[in-house]
């Protein structure tokens, strides 16, 4: 998660897929995905239990203490 704060100071604590980490203020979902090597991957995102559609990823700002889920296709029955 080091890349998350490449351009800004670390000021937020977030939970990403169950692990506590840090992120910079005013980072968007899109920036989070890019900086975390999710670029070009087929993923969907929920924050604090609410689905955030891809169309909002460039504008949705992550807040302190947000709980973020990033999911991808997986085997299922």
């Amino acid at each position: 998660m080091e890349n998350l704060h490449k351009y800004r100071d670390i000021i937020m604590e977030i939970t990403l897929n169950g692990s506590v980490t840090h992120a910079s203020e005013n980072v968007t979902i899109n920036e989070l995905l890019l900086s975390s090597d999710y670029k070009d991957k087929m993923v969907a995102v929920a924050i604090n239990g609410e689905f955030i559609p891809k169309s909002d990823h460039k504008t949705h700002i992550i807040n302190d203490k947000d709980e973020i889920e990033i999911v991808a296709p997986m085997q299922g029955g």
Binding site: Y38, F51, P53, V71, G76
Partner: protein, 284 residues
């Protein structure tokens, strides 16, 4: 004439819905799909690390160009299930959702109350809900009332391989919802279980563990595909009623020694008497 199952916009030529979890390898999964030719493939969502393998799995599934049915496995509340369904719709680009809301860890029995709440919300959001449910008749009616066109009662608890635990309840569902698509989902262990479900008039079978955990998954998948086809054919053909006595399959008219009294005719007379006795007892 082709026996097509129409679900939504899809015209499905196979009545096997196959799960993709718990196979020894992705290659064995690929082989199992190849030989059994399911019409729907169930998939799921999991947390993805930046170096995760979910993309490898998805690349294999895409090769087949078979419609996918995402599930909400692992959800214990309507809210979790709705959010998971929304994420699945975006990733898999389909309104179909196999709605699972678990209420009991030991049996993985669905929570009927949360299931109904989630169903109502998802239908309002434009989803085509495939509810994984118990075989409860009233729950089925509530789901239909909410707008479900498909019902997926369990045969037995997920992964148990027990087959059809409650044939009576499954028959009731078929009889009471003749116009709905009924799919036995979960608990099947052997191809004969699937054949039985299809003989009851079920429209399809969804299975995973029975194939994935078999000694030879691809061969078992082929066995299930054949059994589902056989059971469906039997249902369409019309299965004869059970009787208490034998009926000769070979015509007896003009057989040699026709006029002789044979043990067979004596026995049939006895059987008729027994039938009358049984009928009398049933009336009582």
């Amino acid at each position: 004439m082709a026996d097509i199952l129409n679900i939504g916009d899809e015209q499905l030529s196979s009545r096997l819905f196959l799960g993709t979890a718990a196979y020894p390898s992705l290659e064995i999964l690929r082989g199992s799909i190849e030989v059994s030719k399911p019409s729907l493939i169930t998939v799921s969502l999991r947390r993805e690390s930046a170096s995760g393998t979910g993309q490898d799995f998805w690349n294999i599934i895409k090769e087949f160009n078979i419609p996918v049915l995402p599930n909400t496995a692992g959800c214990y509340s309507a809210k979790e299930a709705v959010t998971t369904a929304e994420m699945a719709r975006e990733i898999f680009n389909t309104n179909r959702i196999k709605l699972e809301v678990i209420g009991d860890d030991y049996t993985l029995q669905p929570d009927p109350y949360e299931l109904l709440i989630a169903t109502e919300k998802l239908i309002a959001k434009g989803f085509e809900v495939y509810p994984y449910m118990s075989d409860d008749l009233v729950l089925a009616q509530r789901l239909v009332d909410l707008g479900c066109n498909i019902l997926m009662p369990w045969g037995a608890p997920i992964g148990s391989g027990r087959g059809l635990n409650n044939v009576y309840a499954l028959k009731q569902l078929r009889a009471r919802f003749p116009d709905k698509i009924l799919v036995v989902d979960a608990g099947l262990g052997a191809p004969s279980h699937a054949a039985r479900a299809m003989e009851l008039g079920y429209d399809a079978c969804l299975l995973n563990t029975a194939v994935a955990k078999a000694g030879d998954p691809a061969l078992m998948a082929k066995g299930f595909a054949g059994a589902i086809k056989a059971g469906r054919d039997a249902y369409l053909a019309g299965i004869i009623d059970k009787q208490e006595h034998a009926t000769p399959s070979t015509p007896l008219l003009d057989k040699p020694f026709w006029h002789q009294k044979t043990p067979l005719t004596a026995n049939r007379s006895t059987v008729k008497k027994l039938d009358r006795i049984i009928a009398t007892q049933m009336v009582k």
